[in-house]
């Protein structure tokens, strides 16, 4: 699976927003979630985040998001229930439950609406060290391939009557050793391929589609600031 193929199919509003703006917004929201002490303010923040998540639902990800929402809701209910028992205070337990949602939601939202290729472009624009970008690109590109290799090894074992899912003691010799040999071979092949093409991680690189600040980026930043303002006001006056 290539980076391009793993990108979301639909190009909704959030998908078109500058990834750097989304990363900063996600960090700001996480920071605010840590500082809020009012249940009302926290509820508004969580409601907006859940609303945005629901807007991101497409035919491709409905199962993934649906399952995540179901499991997440059960986990949060359990978390609040345990919190009520431990803290003996329903309001605090609810606040911490909502805070957990507000801290955990921005990153999946960022991931759902940012194709890896866009994120790499954003990191290049942000002048992140070139070797880190290379490592990240290689990891994104080859992680699905290595997972396929692991799957093939599992199937080969099954054909020989070894069900590794029920025999963790066989994982090392049956799964990891052959997988490591494949990984090391891949690493050698990729190095040779990159060296043959004269790839230099430290050389300046051009971008075919450079990131530009667009109108929808301004709208997104404005919306985030509005949310932060409303939540801050609610925190102060409630």
């Amino acid at each position: 699976m290539s980076i391009a193929k793993s990108a979301p199919e639909s190009r909704g509003f959030l998908t078109r927003v500058n990834p750097l703006a989304k990363i900063i917004a996600s960090l700001v929201i996480t920071g605010i979630a840590f500082s809020l002490k009012s249940v009302v303010a926290m509820s508004v923040l969580v409601a907006v985040l859940v609303g945005v998540l629901l807007l991101c639902i497409t035919r491709d990800n409905i199962r993934q998001i649906g399952r995540g929402l179901l499991v997440g809701t059960i986990a949060i209910f359990l978390f609040v229930a345990i919190g009520m028992l431990l803290l003996n205070n329903a309001q605090s337990a609810l606040l911490y439950g909502l805070r957990l949602v507000a801290i955990l939601l921005p990153t999946p939202l960022l991931a759902l609406t940012t194709p890896p290729a866009d994120l790499v472009r954003a990191l290049q624009t942000a002048k992140l060290q070139s070797f880190l970008i290379l490592s990240l690109m290689l990891t994104w590109r080859f992680l699905p391939l290595i997972q396929q290799e692991a799957q093939r090894i599992l199937e080969a074992n099954q054909l020989r009557g070894v069900d590794l899912s029920r025999q963790p003691q066989q994982w090392f010799s049956g799964l990891f050793v052959p997988l490591i040999f494949r990984i090391v071979s891949y690493a050698d092949e990729v190095t040779i391929g990159l060296e043959t093409r004269g790839y230099d991680p430290n050389a300046p690189r051009s971008l075919s589609q450079p990131l530009r600040w667009r109108f929808h980026d301004t709208v997104f930043v404005g919306g985030t600031l509005l949310l932060v303002g409303i939540v801050s006001l609610l925190e102060r006056y409630s």
């Binding site: 911490y96 957990l100 955990l104 990153t107 190095t191 990159l194 060296e195």
Partner: protein, 181 residues
């Protein structure tokens, strides 16, 4: 000291993939267990193999930072909390390993593994608990919970190192890995 080259970056990236695959295989087994560090304990024996391989091949201080830093960036798409505790533990590991100067010897690789996985349990438990609620931080940071889990994580990291050294021998025999011993 040799400078980092393309081969090192590519090898480190593939070891990061190995660590990620190991976590994808092992961690789901323990998702329902609400104990700090339990995920590290099941992940360390397999993740440690790749960490040891990376240390053995790259040998310099900064090897753990290169592998785990990429993993932390990759996992930032799941949660900033994972990124935060991975970065905290890689900083701890690299700072301690600065005093040992490199990963050339087997003992240094063992030490690197033990420190990384033990510190992952501590930072993961504290950052995770603080994120959830300050009350939970107090509960989790009690020595009778955190200390045994940290020790077990260190032992699991040592098992990962031992398995990693076994694989290094096999790779050397197959002519696939050039490592000074």
């Amino acid at each position: 000291m040799k400078s980092w080259n393309l081969k090192d970056y590519v090898f480190a990236a593939f070891m990061t993939i190995g660590i990620a695959v190991a976590s994808a295989i092992a961690v789901p087994l323990t998702l329902g267990i609400p104990l700090p560090g339990v995920r590290t304990i099941v992940w360390a024996p397999f993740g440690g193999i790749f960490l040891t391989l990376g240390m053995a091949r790259l040998q310099r201080v900064g090897s753990v930072a290169l592998m785990i830093g990429t993993l932390a960036l990759l996992l930032s798409r799941l949660s900033w909390i994972i990124t935060a505790f991975l970065v905290a533990s890689l900083v701890i590991t690299e700072v301690v390993m600065l005093f040992r100067s490199n990963y050339r010897s087997r003992f240094n690789r063992l030490l690197g593994n033990v420190i990384f996985f033990a510190s992952t349990t501590v930072t993961g438990a504290l950052i995770g608990a603080y994120t959830a609620s300050p009350g939970l931080t107090q509960w989790v940071s009690q020595p009778w919970i955190l200390l045994p889990m940290t020790l077990l994580s260190g032992v699991a990291g040592a098992i990962g190192w031992w398995l990693g050294e076994l694989v290094i021998k096999q790779l050397q025999r197959a002519g696939k890995l050039d490592v000074d011993r």
